[in-house]
């Protein structure tokens, strides 16, 4: 439609179209929606927009945030990982069982944490192997390991909780560093790290290439299999990190920890503009996605909406956000 005359100032035209395309990016649209939501919620309760409250919400979103970051990579390649919640549960149990002074292992806490991270990484690696080397679709693989890992967590724990960790262990989940909850620093580091990797490295570009056209990527020399195994392994590692932080935050281990986490993480990623079909998306979008969901949960609760009402709102926002985005993208695509 924009068959305008090219005689006038060309560079100015380019500039304005660039601004327009920037404004039409999903991240920006989402950011605007978020700001509107924050303004709206701040009217609902004067306790919402306070530093204390917002920092405290940071504690609650860290686990979902970490998992959503690695999920972004996976979804960009056109895959999915449904097993993250179960990996979290398994890792939490492993951490407890390995440390438990009255148990069979009674290892030092540091060693137990390392084993916890290793088990998570291994669990993710197994996902990757099955998907890449055996060619089983990600949805089915991780559906199977969702059951398997949760089953292992239940079996290993034998329904016993491990409690009574030393005080210094709680620093990560309940402590503060420079006035900010400790785990938020961890989340921040991983946010920057993943954002840089995805947008500034060859690896990141390869991830998009795999999502856009796997066969094409392979022909142009991208080690598709190896990269895919790497991101699923990373996803397992992130779930283990989340498990460590979770155990430190709630000071106990239970085999049902993290159930349903996968859906929250996927919702955050999708809300953040990553296409479930692969090929597009960004870490910034995901970050805005999980922050928006947490703020909605918190802000609505503070305005007096009950939990079940909040769930309804979040489901609606998810569908509407994608709908609006689709609409705008199509308009601008045609225009």
């Amino acid at each position: 439609m924009t068959t305008t005359t090219h005689t006038t100032d060309d560079s100015q035209e380019q500039m304005s179209s660039r601004i327009r395309s920037f404004l039409l990016r999903q991240e920006v649209i989402l950011l605007i929606i978020s700001l509107l939501a924050v303004m709206f919620l701040a009217f609902g309760s004067d306790r919402f927009l306070t530093t204390d409250n917002l920092l405290n919400q940071g504690r609650l979103l860290t686990e979902i945030g970490l998992v959503a970051l690695s999920m972004t990579f996976i979804i960009i390649t056109g895959g999915i990982d449904l097993s993250v919640g179960s990996i979290l549960g398994l890792c939490a149990i492993i951490l407890g069982v390995m440390w438990d002074p009255n148990g069979a292992f009674a290892l030092p806490l540091e060693v137990a944490v390392v084993i916890c991270l290793l088990v998570g990484t291994l669990a993710g690696f197994v996902n990757g192997l099955i998907i890449v080397r055996l060619g089983v679709p990600p949805l089915i693989t991780t559906l199977a390991t969702l059951a398997l890992y949760r089953g292992l967590a239940e079996g290993i724990s034998q329904a016993r909780s491990v409690r009574g960790y030393p005080e210094e262990f709680y620093v990560l989940g309940q402590g503060e560093f420079l006035g900010v909850p400790t785990q938020l620093w961890v989340l921040l580091i991983f946010c920057i790290l993943t954002a840089v990797i995805l947008s500034r490295t060859i690896f990141g570009r390869a991830i998009y290439a795999i999502g856009n056209n796997e066969l094409g990527a392979r022909f142009s020399g991208v080690p598709v299999g190896r990269y895919k195994i790497m991101i699923y392994t990373f996803s397992g590692f992130m779930a283990a990190m989340a498990a460590w932080i979770f155990v430190s935050r709630v000071s106990t281990t239970r085999s049902d920890m993290g159930s349903g986490l996968e859906l929250d993480a996927i919702a955050a990623v999708v809300l953040g503009g990553t296409s479930i079909f692969g090929g597009s998306g960004s870490i910034i979008g995901t970050i805005i996605g999980f922050i928006l969901i947490q703020l909605l949960k918190n802000g609505l609760a503070l305005s007096g909406v009950t939990t079940d009402g909040t769930i309804v709102v979040i489901g609606t926002v998810l569908i509407l956000a994608i709908l609006i985005n689709n609409f705008i993208q199509r308009r601008s695509g045609n225009g």
Binding site: A147, I266, F277, I311, G315, L318, I319
Partner: protein
């Protein structure tokens, strides 16, 4: 979900012109046959340790227990074959079951409390289908959002109050066929969910295999581009698939609601995973565009049989989920190996 699969359509087509022996070979290596074998094997092994496992009552209970899941899996099979997914089925079953029970205790005729949820399911399916096909929102996003809306909405409306005191004639799922004695063979009274499950599964399997629309579902799932080129309206097919899925979920909800004297008006936790697992273990979607409802039904029965067997052979219940996970992996792997062999 989006693994680009070069394999197309039904594998059985290869065998059409060949002899009886190779036809048998194809049948013997099909997912349905493998599942049947596993079920029989399980019955034999567990029945050997405890003959009560094979008692008529227990066998009927195993078939009956997951019948509503098998019914929902009929729709799920079509959805997954068309390269979509529906993770809101569990919530929808909860909502429609509650609707059914509410109608029954508020004096509406019994037939309406059975029929309205089914039609309502079709309407919800149409809405999902419309958003997926025409508004181009991925089905996982639509149903993820819907899952939240239905789950939260149900609690908001009912406050979690249970529904009791339904009229005696309401309990469709507790009804049984009359005992028949045919040619000296006594056919026991079959619970209605089993009858509904089998009839629905066979009808769907025949429809998908022989009707143009049914075959088009495979085409859309196998290779949407090719399907489009051959004149199939992808949008119309996806609408159809989700409407059928909604109707199936409605039937499943009625069976779910009418089997016990209490309807817990909440969303049954993890039900969607059981339905998807049944479809997947039943051989659906390994490559996209492949699978049958019969496989899904057998898988639902298998899961029910395993659950029962774990109680019978004294396996720690802590391990049930691990067993299910390993089972999914094994069926999928054997399926892959088999496919590779038949292709070679």
């Amino acid at each position: 979900m989006t693994t680009a699969a070069p394999t197309l359509g039904q594998p059985t087509r290869l065998s059409r012109s060949r002899g009886l022996a190779s036809r048998f070979l194809v049948f013997a290596t099909s997912q349905e046959f493998v599942l049947l074998l596993v079920v029989v094997l399980l019955f034999a092994v567990v029945g050997n340790t405890n003959p009560r496992y094979l008692a008529e009552r227990n066998v009927l209970n195993i078939f009956n227990g997951n019948a509503y899941i098998a019914v929902a899996a009929v729709g799920m099979t079509m959805v997954i074959i068309s390269r979509n997914i529906d993770i809101s089925v569990g919530s929808l079953i909860g909502v429609l079951g509650t609707v059914s029970g509410s109608l029954a205790i508020n004096g509406y005729p019994i037939w309406s409390s059975w029929l309205v949820p089914i039609l309502l399911g079709g309407v919800v399916g149409a809405v999902i289908g419309f958003m997926v096909a025409y508004l181009r929102i991925p089905s996982i996003v639509v149903t993820l959002g819907l899952l939240s809306i239905l789950k939260g909405g149900l609690i908001t409306v009912t406050n979690g109050a249970w529904i009791t005191d339904m009229p005696d004639t309401y309990f469709l799922a507790q009804m049984r066929t009359p005992e028949i004695s045919l040619l000296g063979i006594n056919i026991p009274a079959i619970p209605s969910p089993i009858v509904i499950m089998i009839v629905l599964t066979l009808l769907a399997a025949l429809w998908m295999r022989y009707s143009p629309t049914g075959r088009a579902i495979y085409a859309v799932g196998g290779n949407a581009e090719a399907a489009r080129l051959s004149g199939i309206s992808e949008k119309r097919i996806i609408m159809t698939v989700f409407i059928i899925n909604g109707l199936c979920v409605g039937i499943a909800a009625v069976l779910w609601a009418t089997q016990l004297s209490i309807i817990q008006s909440t969303v049954p936790a993890g039900l969607e995973l059981q339905v998807i697992t049944s479809a997947v273990v039943g051989g659906v979607s390994i490559m996209g565009g492949v699978g049958t409802t019969i496989g899904a039904m057998l898988a639902a029965i298998l899961l029910s049989a395993i659950n029962s067997a774990l109680v019978f052979i004294n396996v720690s219940p802590y391990w049930f989920r691990a067993v299910v996970g390993v089972l999914i992996l094994i069926t999928v792997l054997t399926d892959l190996l088999r496919r590779r062999r038949t292709q070679a």
